[in-house]
């Protein structure tokens, strides 16, 4: 039996598991099974490659044991760190985690391309098509790596959104792209083979810098989109690397992720009513000088804990609007406790989830799932807005930009046109907020001055705990 034929079968199985896995991942009941099926396929592909891959190149047959040991140790290290990270990370930090893992995939591709570049230039006459593929892999892998690392740093708030923006940042990025494409062209058609590898290192460095520069101007509420874009970049990179080795499982896996990542990106942009280009060019938030800043008296009404508790307890229906603030305060469990107390008194409690609430689409759903909030209680944008029209109270916990009425009526606002949760349709709105600071995107929110709005200042978890205590005394 020819081992490489068996490997072909394993790759075929793995490719099918990726498709089935992604398919199952799109339904809540089957999602976990889908993820596991894809993982099994991946394990088959990796183990199969280790033991069944045919030797190519003159020295490939030598020192097999040492090489297997090298790969084995590398996989061991990666597995231990990967598992530790995956099981320790808090659900609130999920976007950062995904970003890091994504970057590492890109980094893996970039290093692979560097090694492969050496092989290509060692050949007597390097093929342009082969070189182009390697350079493409190197470029996208590097951009994905450094871009994801910056995205991580921004989400973790190690880097502030505005620190890395240069004047005329768009022009700078354009120059980067032109330079990189020119360099790749030169390396493919113009360069002497002896120079090629060194230029490859130069390409790596410039691409790494470009990755940072690419993500730098994007911030605030746009971070989920960037993560998704970088995710599809890494997918494309994997597919290109698959072409280098004529490796079908890499191609299928890479293209699937590239395509699905792009679609997910488009869906997210739609949820914010902006074009992808608009997001990528960036400079969102901060620069937005709202036209309605100083219009008449801005009066804020505060509400006492006792009043808020009474209002909530004796209402018919309450809609909770959770945002990232809830996540930061780790308040999802207390939120659920309040929900139970109110429900016991016959109040109908629902949760309104904006598609881009939190810092990753669907992030809120994950956090509320962690607190055991039943699935049917979570409403998406359209359903939530329908329910809000008849709701007695909308209670906003740490959300800001997704409940900003400026998106509807202030053309000067940077988020004008973004579909929002119309909490002002409810009879009454209670906003739980730490302070009057503007949201993550740095935009003024007229909701806080709305006549139906009352504010309850304090840490989200703290306020919710006090509310729970108050409700219990009623």
């Amino acid at each position: 039996m020819n081992p490489s034929h068996l490997l072909d079968v394993l790759y075929l199985i793995a490719s099918v598991t990726f498709v089935i896995g992604l398919k199952l991942l799109s339904h809540p009941e089957s999602a976990r099974r889908g993820n596991r099926i894809a993982a099994v396929g991946m394990a088959l592909a990796i183990v199969g490659t280790l033991f069944l891959h045919p030797s190519e190149g003159e020295k490939a047959a030598e020192g097999t044991n040492i090489k297997l040991m090298i790969v084995g140790i590398a996989i061991g290290i990666g597995t231990i760190i990967g598992l530790l990270a995956a099981y320790r990370v808090k659900m609130t930090a999920m976007p950062q985690m995904v970003s890091i893992f994504n970057g590492l995939g890109g980094g893996c591709a970039a290093l692979l391309a560097i090694a492969e570049l050496k092989v290509q230039y060692a050949a007597a006459t390097p093929l342009p098509s082969g070189l182009l593929l390697v350079l493409f892999t190197l470029f996208f892998g590097a951009v994905s790596f450094s871009g994801s690392m910056l995205a991580f740093a921004k989400l973790e708030e190690l880097v502030k959104d505005k620190t890395l923006i240069l004047p005329r940042h768009n022009v700078v990025n354009l120059v980067f792209i032109v330079a990189l494409v020119a360099l790749m062209g030169y390396m493919t058609w113009g360069v002497a083979a002896s120079q090629g590898f060194n230029l490859g290192i130069l390409l790596l460095v410039v691409a790494l810098i470009y990755g940072v520069s690419f993500v730098a101007p994007i911030g605030g509420a746009d971070m989920p989109v960037v993560i998704s874009v970088l995710n599809s970049f890494t997918g494309l990179t994997a597919a290109a690397a698959g072409l280098i080795y004529d490796n079908l499982v890499m191609m299928v896996g890479g293209i699937l992720v590239g395509a699905s990542g792009s679609i997910l990106t488009v869906l997210m942009c739609k949820a914010m009513n902006r074009s992808l280009l608009n997001v990528l060019i960036g400079s969102f938030g901060g620069s937005g000088t709202s036209s309605k800043q100083a219009e008449g008296e801005q009066v804020i009404k505060e509400v006492t804990l006792n009043d808020a508790a009474v209002q909530l307890y004796y209402s018919q229906s309450v809609v909770v609007v959770p945002g990232y603030g809830l996540a930061v305060a780790q308040a999802q469990k207390v939120c659920k406790e309040l929900d139970e107390l109110l429900s016991a008194n016959g109040v109908e409690v629902k949760y309104a989830i904006h598609p881009v609430a939190g810092r990753m689409p669907g992030h809120m759903n994950v956090l509320l799932a962690e607190a055991d909030v039943p699935y049917p209680k979570l409403l998406d944008l359209e359903d939530a807005n329908a329910v809000l029209q008849h709701a007695d109270i909308a209670i906003i916990v740490g959300a800001n930009d997704v409940v900003n009425p400026a998106a509807e009526d202030d053309p000067g606002s940077p988020i004008y046109g973004m579909p929002v949760l119309k909490v002002w349709d409810a009879k009454h709105t209670i906003v739980l907020k730490r302070s009057m600071r503007s949201g993550y995107a740095g935009i003024e929110n007229p909701l806080f001055f709305h006549k139906k709005t009352t504010m309850l200042f304090g840490d989200a978890k703290d306020s919710l705990q006090k509310l729970v205590a108050e409700v219990k005394t009623l």
Partner: protein
Amino acid sequence: MDVFLNFLHENLLLIYLLIFSILLGIEVISKVPTVLHTPLMSGANAIHGVVIVGAIIVVLNADPKDVLTLSLGFVAVVMGTLNVVGGFAVTDRMLEMFKKKSK
């Protein structure tokens, strides 16, 4: 024109694969409810970790005395493994929570 057609002809199956994979990727994802966007992104993220297969091939094909290539390959495999194992594990952890309440 001839060059282009010849290229198409020689790589016909690959091009079929490319186009159908793209369509499949789009088709599979476009009906996903927002609830699942985070786990989906994280799951897809683990799948592109398949690039590790390429990193393993780099090491296997290397000259055993070529320390540079072996080191590059070693680091690449570590990174790829992190992507794969971490990605699948973290997705599984998220989805576990969805399962509890779908009872």
